[in-house]
Structures are given as structure tokens and as C-alpha cells.
Symmetry: C2
Subunit: 428 residues, 2 copies
């Protein structure tokens, strides 16, 4: 018989209890922080009709055509494993728009699938915290979303300005600049695409390409994109509403002790962003990259019909977070363990051990039994490694005398008594 491999499918992960403990810790902090801001959890299936990703503006084309898991089901429907959560949440909001009380604050921790070439931090399945506020186009909501992102990093023990920075910009402000320069649609698209790549290009090349794209208006665009501060953008955009909005955001967040950096090169790839956009950047020099980000979008529910619904939100992946926590020595795991382990000295006592364990469990003491044939010394040291608090070694003497010993593995102390006495002590 051919032996099957025990490896998981390429590009996905197995979560053994120790990996799961790290995952649980990350998800717990995500959940706790989102709920502290009043976000409610939702979820959906990973299976979506493929049409959802084919509609204009929903996601970028490259991803749909080359990177999704798409197949035909046994009923001849085309199905896609969701590559991102936003189309799903837009669908759900559109479905219940009449019953929802806006603004809606929702979060979810979905797993997402992309068929990508394999590299560090890129897997074919990852989990992603998604937080969105729907139905209010007001800078106070944009501020809240960025505060929430900041609070998540704080709750992981990270320090703003030391381990990460928050960069903000505005697609609306960029449009205000284009309006002031009277650029046509093609020039806008070309300039925006280029701006997105500014930090990956030499200044000279960038200038040349920008001149190709927008002609003699390149110097004004460059002045804007080089601004390291909201006050030094060209005067031509300072009368716009988008400028006032950005200024309010930067100043209010400063008052709230949440440092944000105005950075007009923040574009965010997706076409659907229309207002404030932001990214959180890792300050580790070895890994100086955007870890997460988001922004405001208008009318994400357009493809479903009805009145437009605006929103602001972000996505934050588990792989990126884990890399960040480990590289900054902030990783903690949420290891679950029992209070008591009952350790029979002989296999013949397993049944008796199980009976005793059950009495502790019924009294509310989390208890397990080591049913293996290992020597009792080994059983005790294993219990310690597994963070068990107490052990009860069960031999023939204990069964006969009905007097038992419980050893406190942390303190090294021992208590002796009847089962009732020991249960009472451990249950308290």
C-alpha cells in the first residue's frame, strides 16, 4: 500500500494545540478590543457565488482572474472561496438594509483564500480581522476606525511611534488636487497608480514617469506627494473640504494622544477607496512594511441596487500580526490547562482514577487522567510541563485507605485527606 503524506495541502497550516494557543491569544485581543468599541461579530461561509467578485469595482481584476480558488459545483454553479471579506459583508448589509440601525459597527475574523506564489508571510489561507462602520460619512467615524486599529496594537503591548507608525492620507484630497490641476480621467488614473509605487522607485525615475503621466503639472503633484505634514501641501487644495477633513483628523487624533502621520503616498491598491485611507507600518528596520490598513469607500453595495451605503473599515491579517509580535518579542500564548491531573500508578487503576476525576469535575474542578502506561515520575513531570496546577497520585494504598494526597506543583506543598475534603479544597 502506498503511504499518504502527513503534510497539509500546500500553502495552508495545521494548528497544533501550541499553534492554536497563539492564534487564540491574537483572536481574543482582536475580539476584546473590537467589542470595547461596540463592534458586533458576524460571519459567513467561505463559499460565495463567483459573480460577487466579477462585478466592477469589487476587487482588483488580477486577483479575480489569477488568484482565486474558483470551481464549478455538482449543480453547475460557479463558486469561489472568498479571497477577501468586503464583498461578503457588503452583500449582507445590502440584504438587511431595511432592518439595520445605522451606523452599523461590525467585525469578523474570516479565513480568506488566494492562490499565490509562495513567499514569506504569503500563504494560500490566512485569517483576517475585518472591522467596518457602515452608514455614516463623517470624520468622527474615520477617527474611530483608526483609534480602534491603534488600540489593538496597544493591547498587544506595542508602542505607537516606537514599534509602529500610523500613516494617513485621503483619496478625496488627491482628487481635490486633480480638480485644482484640471486633470482628465486618464491622467488621474496614471498619477494615482504611480503615487502608489512612489516609495519603491528612485526619485528621478518617479519624476520622469509623473511628467509622462500629467505633463507640466508634475511639479505640483510632486510637491503634494512629498508633503510630510498636512500644512505644507500646495495652497491649491487648502480650500477643499477634503483638506479641512484631513486637518480635523490629524489634529483631533493628536488631542486624543494617538499619533498619526500625514503621508500622501498612502493610496491602498483597491479601487473602491474614496476618502481617508491609512496604513500601520512596522518600524522594525528588517521588516519596514505596511502591516494592515483600510479606508473609506462609497457605495460598496452598489452592485446590489438601492440607495448608496458608505463605510470605513480595515483588514488585519493573522500572519502579518504574528510576525510583528514575534519580531518585537510581544508574543504570548493563551494556553489552557486543567487544575488537576489524576495519575494512576498502574493501568489496572485507570477506571478508579476516572471515577475520582469525575467527582472533581462535577464539583467544578477541571480534571484529566493520565491513562498511559508511563511511570508515575514521568507522569508528574509531564503534568508540570502541561501547566497542570495539582496532581493526585493514585496507587493501591490510596484506594484501600481512601486517604489521598494532592500535590501542588507550583508551591511544592501537599495536602492529605478524604476525597470530599480534597474536592472541597480544590473547588474553592
Amino acid at each position: 500500500m502506498t503511504k499518504l503524506t502527513t503534510n497539509p495541502y500546500k500553502g495552508v497550516r495545521d494548528f497544533y494545540p501550541e499553534d492554536m494557543a497563539a492564534q487564540r491569544y491574537m483572536f481574543d485581543v482582536w475580539r476584546m478590543t473590537a467589542e470595547h468599541f461596540g463592534f458586533e461579530q458576524y460571519d459567513a461561509s467561505i463559499l460565495e457565488p463567483s459573480e460577487l467578485y466579477k462585478s466592477k469595482g469589487a476587487v482588483n481584476e488580477e486577483m479575480v482572474n489569477e488568484q482565486t480558488y474558483t470551481f464549478t459545483d455538482r449543480g453547475d454553479r460557479e463558486v469561489t472561496l472568498r479571497p477577501e471579506m468586503t464583498p461578503t459583508v457588503a452583500r449582507m448589509v445590502a440584504h438587511k438594509r431595511r432592518d439595520l440601525h445605522f451606523p452599523v459597527r461590525w467585525y469578523s475574523i474570516p479565513n480568506l483564500f488566494r492562490y499565490e506564489r509562495m513567499q514569506r508571510g504569503r500563504l494560500r489561507e490566512h485569517w483576517q480581522l475585518n472591522c467596518d462602520i457602515f452608514g455614516v460619512d463623517d470624520v468622527s467615524a474615520d477617527i474611530e476606525i483608526i483609534l480602534l486599529a491603534n488600540e489593538i496594537f496597544k493591547n498587544f503591548g506595542a508602542i505607537n511611534g516606537k514599534q509602529y507608525n500610523i500613516h494617513v492620507s485621503s483619496r478625496r484630497l488627491l482628487e481635490a488636487l486633480y480638480d485644482a490641476l484640471d486633470l482628465d480621467t486618464d491622467a488621474r488614473t496614471a498619477a494615482t497608480r504611480l503615487a502608489d509605487r512612489k516609495n519603491k522607485m528612485e526619485a528621478v525615475d518617479f519624476k520622469a514617469k509623473m511628467t509622462e503621466a500629467v505633463g507640466n503639472k508634475a511639479s505640483e503633484v510632486l510637491t503634494f506627494l512629498n508633503a510630510d505634514n498636512i500644512n505644507v501641501v500646495p495652497d491649491s487644495v487648502k480650500t477643499s473640504e477634503a483638506y479641512a477633513e484631513m486637518k480635523t483628523l490629524v489634529e483631533t487624533m493628536k488631542e486624543m494622544h494617538c499619533k498619526v502621520i500625514f503621508d500622501p503616498t498612502i493610496i491602498r491598491g483597491f479601487d473602491y477607496y474614496t476618502g481617508i485611507v491609512f496604513e500601520v507600518v512596522d518600524l522594525d528596520p528588517e521588516n519596514n512594511r505596511a502591516m494592515m490598513g483600510g479606508g473609506r469607500y462609497d457605495n460598496l453595495t452598489e452592485v446590489f441596487g438601492g440607495e448608496p451605503i458608505t463605510g470605513i473599515g480595515f483588514g488585519f491579517g493573522d500572519v502579518t500580526l504574528k510576525d510583528f509580535l514575534i519580531s518585537h518579542d510581544l508574543m504570548t500564548t493563551d494556553i489552557m490547562s486543567v487544575t488537576l491531573a489524576v495519575l494512576p500508578t498502574d493501568l489496572a487503576l485507570n477506571l478508579e482514577a476516572q471515577k475520582i476525576a469525575q467527582e472533581f469535575r462535577v464539583a467544578g474542578v477541571a480534571t484529566k487522567v493520565d491513562l498511559s502506561g508511563k511511570k508515575v515520575g514521568k507522569k508528574i513531570s509531564l503534568a508540570g510541563e502541561q501547566f497542570v496546577d495539582y496532581v493526585l497520585v493514585l496507587g493501591e494504598d490510596e484506594v484501600k485507605s481512601k486517604s489521598y494526597k494532592v500535590k501542588d506543583l507550583i508551591e511544592g506543598t501537599e495536602i492529605t485527606g478524604t476525597l470530599e475534603e480534597l474536592i472541597e479544597k480544590l473547588a474553592n
Copy 2:
């Protein structure tokens, strides 16, 4: 433009916050109970190489051929969305067999996929609690698994013998009977298949079919299958080890105040069960069916090579559980809500409201802001419906005077003070 549907893919569910609250409650009780017994959580991807399900004995053929979601990925690999968790966990145990300390107690709450014809309680995606003990073939482990199943029902508030019954049998005992009757392999297979359907057939038909299958040994097989009590099985099996094991199980569980019913018609479809098998049956006369079940299997890791690893475990689906809880009026939801809602009387005060909310949040008070344009009376009643404890109405007067009122929505009382005073009160 054609409008897209807002419905989910056929046979799967969207989880709005209210649905999620029910799901969270069920998963929390599952988790808490499993961990009380010392089970550790693991997880894996839904994507598995299709070979995993094609190996002999892994799952039943009908499912693999007709009911899986199987497709070819962009790298020409055949992939399946897992239809059950057991092959995955067997793969994971086999992968780390040298590092694991047996017995291993593991649980997981995976989502599983089957392309099934649609009917009540049958969806194409469902979640399932899976609990297993690996590496110990001892009745004390079988007892523990059944105790755990019982404890889960108890923790949902259900009563053994009133709302559900636990039926147990043994594939080993059935084999002991076949040994005593000297049946050949074909006769054994035919008899076992038939036994699995006994409760769905008329007694007369059943007898006729059994006679077809095992000839003149049918009456002894019938005596066995009609036994409603371990003591009344044919004498020919009473000398077997399997009989002693079953008797120990039934009697020990009685001592432990966990009622189990010996029921030789419990077979469980999967081929891989080899020892104790059990099912938990709903006692609602409208829905008198098995809700969950499991059993002992030998050498589940056989297809991966190496020494055999034995195990005992069960699966318990979320849809079945939800139906049970609702029909017995045991459903509770785990609704998360904030402590405080800040309610600006005018959109122009949203930013000020957000600043105040953030001060409460930083002090540890879960707080949200109603950023909508609703009237303040409506905002207050909505906060109440959303289980918010306190509201702070923010108008021009409050902003000017810096004196704020917090209303306790449960008690109906009010406290007035500076922001610092109110934060101190709510934070405690």
C-alpha cells in the same frame, strides 16, 4: 447594470450578529466543557489533498464520490473541502506521533462541507465539535468520552433521560457474536448493514432479510439485537472480553450517575468503528433521532504508515444542536454589548462625542457613539434594545458647562458630574 442577488450561496448560512450570538453561546459551552476534561484545541485548513479521502476505510464511498466539494487547483492538484474532520486529525496525529505524549485529548470545531440534497437539518456547510482521545485502548477512555458528551448536554441545561438518552453498543461485541456463530465475512457485512437499519424496518421484514443474510443463525442474531439490557444477550457472547468491557462500561457509568442504555442496534455507519459505539438520541417525540455519536476506531493512521494508533471520539453538529436547544426551550444567546453609549443631540457634536467616548474607553469602559442623525429619544431607546447599560446624552449645554449626565438604563437613575467623576464611577 444587472443587480446581484444578496443571498448567500445555496445551502450555506450568513451569520448576522444575532445568529452569531447563538453560535458563540454553543461554541463557548462546547469549548468550556471539553477543556474542563483537559481536551486541547487544534485546527486545520478546510483544504485537504483529495487523496486523503480516497484511501480505503477512511470515509464511506458514497460520500467521496457523490458528496464532496472536489476541484483541481491552479497548480493541477486535486483538492477537497473537508467533509469530516477525522481524516485531518489522523493526518496531524500521524505527522507528530514522535513528539506527542499519549493519550492525546484533542478537540476542534471545524466547518465541514458536503454537497447534499437540501432538507431540514442538512446544509452544505456546518460546524461540528470533534473530541478524540488517542493512544489508549481502555474502557476508562470510552467512559470518559461518553461522560464528556453527557456533560455537554448537562451544561446546555438538558436532562439525561428526560430530554435525551445515551445509547451504547459495541462493534467488538457484535464480532464476538459472529465468532460464536462462525459467520463468514460476507455474512458479517450483510448482518451488520441490516442491523444498522433495524429501527427503520418492520420486524417481519427484518427477520426475513436477516434469515437471507445469515441463514439458520438468524434467531440468535435477532435475540442479540433485541436485547434491551446487557444481561439478556445470548450466553454465547458472555464469555468474551467485549462483553466484560461493555458490562464494566454500563455499570461504571451508572455509579457515576450517567445513565446509558445498552442498545445493540447502534452500529454507526462508518466502517472504521471497531469497539464501543454510542449515540445521543433526542427524546422529543417530534424529532426522535440521533443527534450525535461516536465510537472507538483502531489504527486510523494506518494509511500514513507506522505503528497503529487507536482512538475514541465523537462529532456533534451545530445545526442539530441548535434544533435541539430551540425545541426544548434551552437556547440562550451570548450577546455582547457596551457599557456606555454617548449620544450627541446633533451631528455637529459627533466629534466631541467621539473624544468623550475615547476617554471612557481608555479608562476601560466599553463605549460606543451613536453617530447617526436620529433624534435623541430614538437613540436612547435603541441603546436600551441593544442592552447598553448607560447613556450619556451630549448637547451644547453639556459641552459648554462641562457637566454631564449619565443615565442608568436598567435602574432608571441618573448621575451628574464632570467627565473625570463619571469615568471614575463607570470604570468601577
